[in-house]
Every structure is written in structure tokens, then in C-alpha cells.
Point group: C2
Chain length 199, copies 2
């Protein structure tokens, strides 16, 4: 079976990394050989979340990883300029996203699921339920982290009730205190200690 790459956007944030890992897991549970990849370095906030929940970062989508791959699933973005280079060489078979649609077109029908919520992970929670697949504790923790990140702990104007409810449900699965974990994660992301004055 050929591999489908699941990728978030360039300059990846916690939602792009977490959603790639989590949606690849769901696709594998549904019988699709899907591999999560990233298009850039893991930032400090995301590294905190991956370390806390003991999940490995996706591999970087270099030439080797792309070798022989024909199909892509996009998470957390759709616009060409935010996406993998030379996207026109692949078939995009699915998109799971929460942004406006622009600079996106396909030759064939596809599964496209966008909802006007604050985070891709909020949509992924629905997809697990629709497909009757249980969310492992560590992946629930990553999804919760993505919502905390995109919503700045529910303070962003893009945050919806659905995001808040999803985060609470995921925190319960992950057995984690939403507030204290969230503050620590955001703090880890804002940590400037290893930056120079030039950054």
C-alpha cells in the first residue's frame, strides 16, 4: 500500500504538528497507510507538548520522505504558499482545516472538511467520534495542546464554544489540568532564554 503524507503548514505551530500526528493515527486506524510529516522546525511550545505527552515529532518532509509518495492530506492549512513545495506533483486527497479557502484547487473530488472553529484539533475530535475510534491518552493531550495554542488558552477572538468544550473533553481523556498545563506550555513557547538579541 502506498503511503499518504499528512502535513500541516510551513513554519509549523502546535496545531499543525499535533493535527498531522493525530490525523495520521486516525487514518491508520481506518486502514490507510498515513505518515505525519512536518515542513519546518518544531517550535519550543510544541516541543514542550511532545515531551510532556512523550510523542515523537513527525519527520521532516525531505526528498527521501517524499520519494514514491503520490498523495497528500493537508491539515491546518489549504493555501498553496503555506504548503509543501511543488504541491502540484501530488494529489491532495483530503483537507482538514479551519481557515478561509484561497489558492486551492484540485483536479478530482476530495474529502474537504473545514469548520469555522478556532483549531483543527477541534474538528479532529469530531472525526474520531464520527468514525467510532477511541483517542489514545497521549494524542488527546496533543489535541488539547493545539487548542490551547491556537486559542491562547481561550482568549483569542477566533476561539468558539466548541473549542472550549473540546479542550475540556480532551483534558479529561488526557487526565491533565487544562489551566496549569496550558500556562506552562504557553510559557515554554514564550521562553526567550536561548535566543540572542538578533532573533
Amino acid at each position: 500500500m502506498s503511503t499518504v503524507l499528512v502535513t500541516g503548514h510551513k513554519n509549523p505551530d502546535t496545531d499543525s504538528i499535533a493535527s498531522a500526528i493525530v490525523y495520521a493515527y486516525l487514518k491508520n486506524e481506518l486502514g490507510v497507510h498515513a505518515q505525519p510529516v512536518r515542513l519546518g522546525e518544531v517550535n519550543k511550545e510544541t516541543a514542550y507538548a511532545l515531551d510532556y505527552f512523550q510523542v515523537e515529532a513527525p519527520v521532516f518532509a525531505d526528498e527521501n520522505v517524499q520519494q514514491g509518495v503520490e498523495e497528500l492530506i493537508l491539515v491546518d492549512h489549504n493555501e498553496a504558499q503555506q504548503s509543501i513545495d511543488a504541491r502540484e506533483n501530488f494529489n491532495v486527497i483530503e483537507v482538514i482545516d479551519h481557515h478561509r479557502i484561497a489558492n486551492f484547487e484540485t483536479m478530482a473530488p476530495l474529502y474537504y472538511r473545514a469548520e469555522p472553529v478556532g483549531c483543527t484539533a477541534t474538528i479532529l475530535l469530531k472525526l474520531f467520534k464520527e468514525n467510532n475510534v477511541d483517542i489514545p491518552k497521549d494524542l488527546a493531550g496533543l489535541m488539547m495542546s493545539a487548542i490551547i495554542s491556537d486559542s491562547l488558552l481561550f482568549k483569542s477572538p477566533t476561539c468558539t464554544d466548541e473549542d472550549v468544550q473540546a479542550a475540556k473533553e480532551l483534558a479529561s481523556i488526557a487526565d491533565t489540568n487544562l489551566e496549569s498545563y496550558g500556562l506552562n506550555m504557553l510559557k515554554a513557547g514564550a521562553d526567550m532564554s536561548d535566543k540572542t538579541a538578533d532573533d
Copy 2:
């Protein structure tokens, strides 16, 4: 509350008419004031289905109907050239479709639900279930008609297992014989009796 127009494509087929009626019904059940409209004449096949299930055709989307409307929901299409004239004057807040995506973009996030199945009505059946809304008998009949139309009674290469299962489920709700009704509907659409040699 301002009205949202629910519209299929120009030169409407049974899926575009049925899905506009049916999705407007679902949105109203969910508290949105939605009105189904059409962008052209109802064809004979669709007229047969509307008459059989005693449902009124949507109104034509003329200037009067568009008056004061700011928001659109698109069903069964997304490409600008197939859509309402001057679409740029409206906000497209939702799309439910089963075609490739092209010539489509928005300024804001939206609900976009596309699946690679043979008919929009097949996706609508899932949306009723996801929202726990019962499908009235007459609307189930229209949805079944749309699947029969788009799939040519399951003979089209675009027809999926999901379309076949959906049509069977809808036939049972509509209490209608799928095969015999389907053949009669397709025959009504192919009826040339009132056409002249010039048509």
C-alpha cells in the same frame, strides 16, 4: 434574523434542487433562517420527483429574492462560473458538495463539507444524522431521487457504495420502491414528447 439563501448550480439538476430544499430544511431545524432557491428552470426529471413527493420547487433567485440577502450556502457546486451571478457580493458561509474544488475562495473561515461520493444528498444524509434531526418522508424521497439522478440508478462510475446504501436507507424512509420509481423518474427526464426537432 436575516435570510440565508441555499443554492445549487446554474442549469439545475435534481441534486441541485433537492439538496437546496433539503439542506434549507435542516438549517431551519437548527435555527438558521434559510431559503432554498434555484438558478434556472426545473427540468422534467426534477419536476417528476417534486410532483411525486408533493414538494414545491424553490423560488427563482431573482433580484427581489436576493434583496437584503448577505449570506449564501452553496450545495452541489463551488466553482464561480456555475454559481449565482455577482457571487462576490455575498458571503459564502457554507458549501456542501461532491465535486473538485476550483475557482473558489473566501475572505473568512467557513463550513466546507465535500466528500468524494456520487451525490450531494448522500452527504446530507450524514449531516442529518450528525445533527440528530429526522428526515421527513417527502424530503427523503427527494434525496433518494437526487442519488438516482446523479448515479443513473447506480450505473455511473462516480457512484460509491455509500451512495447505494444511502439511497436504500432513504427509499425505506420514503416508503418507495427504489428500482421502479427510479426508472420512472429517469424516463420522465428523458421524455422528448413535448420537444420539437429543433431542441
